[in-house]
Symmetry: C2
Subunit: 425 residues, 2 copies
């Protein structure tokens, strides 16, 4: 961990030898200023977030369909080198899209699809964004993968670095639950517990990113590339539906990045001609205990007031979501809505999905299901149109959420009669 | 739960209306006696276990390659109806086969492939066998899915029943860890805790199977169909290798069923002409704390002495493995070996796989990796031939195994200097 970033990345960048596939330049989200592809995340012109802009050229369905069964089948739509699928990586994506007829029946709508991202390598959508971040970071000459995290991201970074043979530095609050510590530590990167809260850890990450030029903090200095990974959720849903955009989609909101990138994904598919352009409506889901974007939406505001999170949906507990205003743009533009649900409703959402479809989601999934239910009941989701729910993480990681409300139906002696009685036979 | 099995299954069976695809009859494993397809598991003639026999007809690679991305692409090789993929199910299988070059390098061999079954719906290979059991059980007229279990099987049965809209009855020892209770109870079937050990629970299951004729106990009365699901591991490995059989494979041993079915799968692929017949060697892996088959192998016996399990590898802790003798047959016939490893080696195996390949396996996976290491060191696995390791379950389910041996590298104050010091920079 002693190589300096400047020595490697600047030279490769300056010599034009980096290969980020169709990625052409970075563009500021506010005023559209352009700057060259580099590990930058804030516009030098207007200080707004930077986003990757592309020159896609021709992309055919057959290019994608003949590709690998993971996110790299979409490499011509991502900021990654053309040989990305040849280098050892966790191969995330191509998770199942489940036709959830039993859930749809319970909710009284015609058709629901569940995009089940629990099937990813470390069982959350974070494997997608981390894989793209690592691929881009390699091109820029980084050789350490890093992040601040309280859960899913820590798992994904530590696992991806291990597969790639990179060192990793993962910063967590020292108060983190042991299960989340273990599921990161097992990959044997440099897991560092920090005496402080998540804000302290996050601030420390930004300082470390500035001082260690070979460290790619996936959600800090290579964030523009990282966040593009979420587009693959949109790409997969469209391909799995037979190359068309669903009419309605419900996306959980943490930083808000995923929701805006799902929208960007659908837009790009239309632009390059992989799908027929068709209208779609994007809905956002938050936990009431951390609902700054939902609050802003309901108040008709276009700015988001930071809040102090207090919810069991910890993977969504970002009180000052960076992409909040862009989420509001997307939802308003597509005619959607944003809803939020109590922790009790989150648990009911987890149980509803498990009972009807056999899918055990983490709390974020409970938020999505419960918000969908509320949006249906309020008439905001059209019951005659189809709806896709993004289930972004696995219930095995948030067992505490259900521990007080599920358990055996009965405890019995080992006799047939006792079982019969327990079942009311 | 009041319909009687006799009324439904006998009639459909007698009328010849059941569709189990290529399955032709049941055959006793000892003397090859034949009997009609039915929910029977012990031969009426020689009292040995029954196995499904087939009339495969023509099966082309293109039939399979154009099928769904789950085990049903192999439906022409399984005892399931031809429309099995049209009925809601958990869609297990098509998990990744990872080229594990970093692990191979550490172990000093040319090529290792890891078949990573943590990617299944409930994160173990049990989703495969349960899906086949449910599909066959539906044909026989059952409408309740049941099992005795202490872990992975309970999850898989409860989830599969939920997706299918069936009731489930899952029997567990009342002493089971809360995490395993929660990951089953969340699907809202009839989870019954039994005051007793696993043997008590197992005996109770057999009694209940006899008394409740609409209950399909996946690993009791429909076991011949259930166990065929393990063949899909062999099918997938061969297809993922470009339609060829690997030279060596290491399979963990619990009841021994999986190992014998992987062998059966390779044999059937050759028989129907999907692969060129080629020699392969099957190795078995056990935990020393429950190693009756390894002990028999090492002693040159062809019978297995029951043992009382005492190992952290609980998903392999079957002291009296039903298929033990058949495992010995397979391993001896193919020129393989069976090894066993201590609990400490199991943990090292888990950590080795996580560190080199970013895959977090449950204890059974640690057994497989550690036994492979030992077999390589002993010169029993050929280092110049390729080896496939079956990783059958997820580390998230056995966190207790690693909790004393992994953790943060350091706990620091939130300053750059403290992180530097912790990393020895």
């Amino acid at each position: 961990m002693t190589a300096t970033f400047g020595a490697t990345s600047t030279s490769s960048s300056a010599s034009g030898s980096i290969d980020l596939g169709p990625a052409a330049y970075l563009k500021s989200k506010e005023e559209g200023h352009e700057q060259p592809l580099a590990p930058d995340f804030v516009s030098a012109d207007d200080f707004s977030p930077l986003e990757v802009a592309y020159d896609f050229g021709t992309v055919r369905r057959s290019d994608i369909e003949s590709g690998p069964r993971n996110i790299w089948r979409y490499k011509k739509l991502l900021p990654v080198p053309s040989n990305v699928d040849q280098i050892p990586n966790t191969e995330p994506g191509c998770t199942k899209l489940i036709r959830a007829d039993r859930l749809a029946q319970e909710l009284g709508v015609r058709r629901i699809w569940v995009k089940d991202d629990t099937g990813n390598p470390t069982h959350s959508f974070k494997d997608r964004v981390v894989a793209v971040a690592l691929a881009a970071a390699r091109e820029f000459g980084f050789d350490v993968l890093a992040c601040p995290s309280t859960g899913n991201l820590a798992n994904a970074v530590a696992s991806a670095a291990a597969r790639a043979g990179w060192d990793s530095v993962v910063l967590i609050p020292s108060s983190l639950e042991q299960a989340k510590v273990l599921t990161t530590a097992v990959y044997d990167g440099s897991l560092i517990a920090v005496d402080g809260n998540y804000d302290d850890v996050n601030r420390l990450a930004t300082e470390l990113a500035a001082e260690n030029e070979n460290w790619a903090f996936v959600n800090v200095n290579v964030r523009p590339y990282y966040s593009e990974g979420s587009k693959t959720l949109a790409f997969e849903v469209a391909e799995q539906l037979g190359w068309r955009i669903p009419e309605q989609i419900v996306v959980p909101i943490a930083s808000g990045s995923q929701l805006t990138k799902v929208d960007k994904g659908f837009t790009e598919l239309s632009e390059v001609g992989l799908v027929e352009p068709s209208p779609y409506t994007v809905f956002g889901a938050q936990a009431t205990g951390c609902s700054p974007v939902s609050s802003a939406f309901k108040s008709g505001l276009d700015v988001v007031q930071p809040t102090k999170p207090d919810t069991i949906a910890r993977s969504l507990a970002i009180g000052n979501p960076a992409d909040g205003p862009y989420v509001l743009d997307t939802v308003n533009r597509t005619g959607g809505a944003i809803e939020d649900v109590t922790d009790e409703e989150v648990v009911e959402g987890i149980k509803l999905l498990a009972r009807t479809e056999g899918i055990f989601a983490e709390t974020a999934g409970g938020v999505t299901v419960a918000c969908a239910k509320k949006l249906i009941e309020a008439g905001k989701i059209d019951p005659d149109a189809e709806t896709v729910l993004l289930i972004t993480g696995d219930g095995l990681k948030t067992l505490d959420a259900v521990q007080d409300s599920v358990g055996p139906k009965a405890t019995v002696t080992p006799t047939v009669g006792a079982v019969r009685e327990a079942l009311g036979q």
